[in-house]
């Protein structure tokens, strides 16, 4: 095997990213994943366990893990932390009653050692609903400005219309790429 081939192989491996998508149940995680991949979103069932999806975007190979957000499954989230490059935290922007729960879960997650290096993208989802809180209101409610340990960004989006999904993911990829692919 020539040197060039070896280098190419290495490079290819390097351009893989592992993204973990978490959030309370009903936030729209599975819908985001499927919409991003251009699939039908009208038949999605509540997630029992997890979905894994691998897709190519801008020459990156993305391994996306979508893990169920039900209370009884949250203690299993830990099983998926290993070697996570990016954390996508999805919020139902119209669910005012669970914002506090949402803030606590995110706060606990950011203390996890194995997620220490990960970039955080917060999707303020369901912006198409008339009663949805704006991304700035969500930012305040989740006290995102207090996060000093991770690179983070919040993007308002709708998994149903697809609005801003690409914007969010592109930001995430750029941030991760700048961090881990600087060697080449």
């Amino acid at each position: 095997m020539g040197l060039l081939t070896i280098l190419k192989k290495l490079k290819h491996k390097e351009r893989e990213m592992r993204l973990l998508m978490l959030g309370l149940d009903n936030a729209g995680k599975t819908t985001i994943l499927k919409k991003f991949n251009g699939e039908d979103v009208s038949t999605i069932s509540p997630t029992l366990g997890f979905n894994i999806k691998t897709l190519e975007h801008r020459g990156f190979k993305l391994n996306i893990w979508d893990v169920g957000g039900q209370k009884s499954l949250r203690s299993y989230w830990r099983n998926y932390f290993e070697s996570t490059d990016g954390l996508v935290w999805v919020v139902d922007s119209a669910d005012r009653l669970r914002l506090e729960d949402c803030r606590k879960e995110l706060g606990a997650l950011l203390l996890e050692e194995r997620l220490a290096g990960a970039t955080l993208l917060v999707f303020a989802n369901k912006q198409d609903l008339p009663g949805a809180l704006s991304k700035d209101a969500i930012r305040e409610a989740l006290t995102l400005d207090e996060i000093k340990t991770h690179h983070w960004c919040i993007v308002g989006c709708s998994a149903v219309t697809g609005e801003n999904l690409l914007t969010g993911v592109d930001w995430l990829l750029d941030d991760i790429a700048a961090r881990i692919f600087t060697a080449d």
Binding site: L55, S72, D95, L129, A137, E163
Partner: protein, 343 residues
């Protein structure tokens, strides 16, 4: 389906890494082939085609809305129904085209659809004066104005989350009923169509929602009967007890609920978590205009998985969950209008 859905129980948590990886490799290959095919067809998608079709459809709908002013009642109603349906289809068309539109095009188109929805609702309110709704029973009270106010304060609501107070221009946009006792509460289609509806802190009420909300949250409700037209996405139920819930939706998520009956139409799945004494029967309520609301909701009226309930606290076992049951046919309520709220 390329997605690998793995049942979450004690066995599968311990799936050996090797097996997972092999399965993953297989899925990836499938995925790669599918993506190849897909990107080809996407390349053939034509933004011009989208723009032309979209504006033609939009013009047709605007026509319907404006011309129903000069016609009689019955015709106008028909035309508005038609306009609603067409707007819904336009939204679907837009949703399906998202992947090849720019952010700008998408935003413009989405704004147009919303404007159309708004004009239909406005025009309907003009054309059809609100019917006075009366219950046959003398004991039943109709809703008080205070109860049908949007949830929360008039113009501003403060949420205390952690140490931060969050001010949100909330209430005008969110619809529903909160903090009501022993009343009959009704919403009509034009008030809740494709909105997010919240019902919270209710006791001994009968709630009837005619129309098709986008999503419904029911939280902390005791001894109520709640009837609701077809909901486009999910219904989220939390902390209910002694209730009878009757609705159609895409997903049902039930938490911390006891002694409650659900007459359900669900096109994907219902789940329960931290519940007991919940029982299910097929949705059997009808009202005038329900067929149209089904069309607006986008739900398939022929697809009902009401009896396939997943219990998140009962995944590891092969035996059925003790937390939910099917209501025996002989015990099912069939006539909803005659039923009065408990007093």
């Amino acid at each position: 389906m390329a997605i690998c859905q793995v049942q979450f129980n004690d066995d599968t948590v311990k799936i050996p890494e090797k097996v997972l990886r092999r399965d993953q490799a297989r899925l990836e290959e499938l995925e790669r082939r599918r993506n190849e095919k897909e990107s080809q067809s996407v390349a053939e998608e034509n933004v011009d085609y989208f723009t032309a079709t979209f504006s033609a459809e939009k013009a047709a709908i605007e026509d319907l809305i404006s011309s129903c002013a000069n016609t009689d009642h019955e015709k106008a109603t028909k035309m508005l129904e038609d306009a609603t349906l067409k707007t819904q289809q336009l939204q679907k068309f837009l949703n399906d085209s998202v992947m090849f539109l720019t952010q700008y095009e998408l935003r413009q188109a989405q704004a147009s659809v919303q404007k159309l929805q708004g004009s239909v609702v406005e025009r309907r309110a003009e054309v059809m004066p609100k019917k006075k709704f009366a219950f046959r029973s003398r004991t039943a009270r109709t809703s008080q104005p205070s109860a049908s106010m949007p949830v929360g304060d008039k113009d501003k609501t403060t949420y205390f989350v952690g140490n931060a107070a969050v001010h949100v221009r909330a209430s005008a946009e969110q619809y529903g009923f909160s903090n009501v006792d022993s009343q009959v509460l009704i919403k009509r289609s034009e008030e809740i169509q494709q909105r997010d509806v919240l019902l919270s802190h209710l006791a001994d009420c009968k709630v009837i929602l005619y129309g098709s909300p986008n999503t419904v949250h029911i939280k902390n409700v005791r001894d109520c009967q709640i009837l609701c037209g077809p909901v486009s996405s999910s219904v989220f139920v939390d902390e209910c007890t002694g209730c009878t819930l009757v609705f159609a939706c895409q997903q049902l998520r039930t938490h911390n609920t006891t002694a409650t009956q659900v007459y359900l139409h669900v096109t994907s799945r219902a789940i329960i978590e931290d519940c007991h004494g919940v029982s299910f029967a097929p949705f059997n309520w009808t009202y005038q205009g329900m067929d149209n609301d089904f069309r607006v909701s986008g739900l398939d009226p022929k697809r009902n998985n009401w009896s396939q309930v997943d219990d998140f606290n009962w995944l590891a076992s092969g035996t059925p969950s003790p937390n939910w049951t099917v209501i025996p046919e002989s015990e099912r309520i069939s006539c909803w209008d005659a039923k009065e709220p408990s007093s």
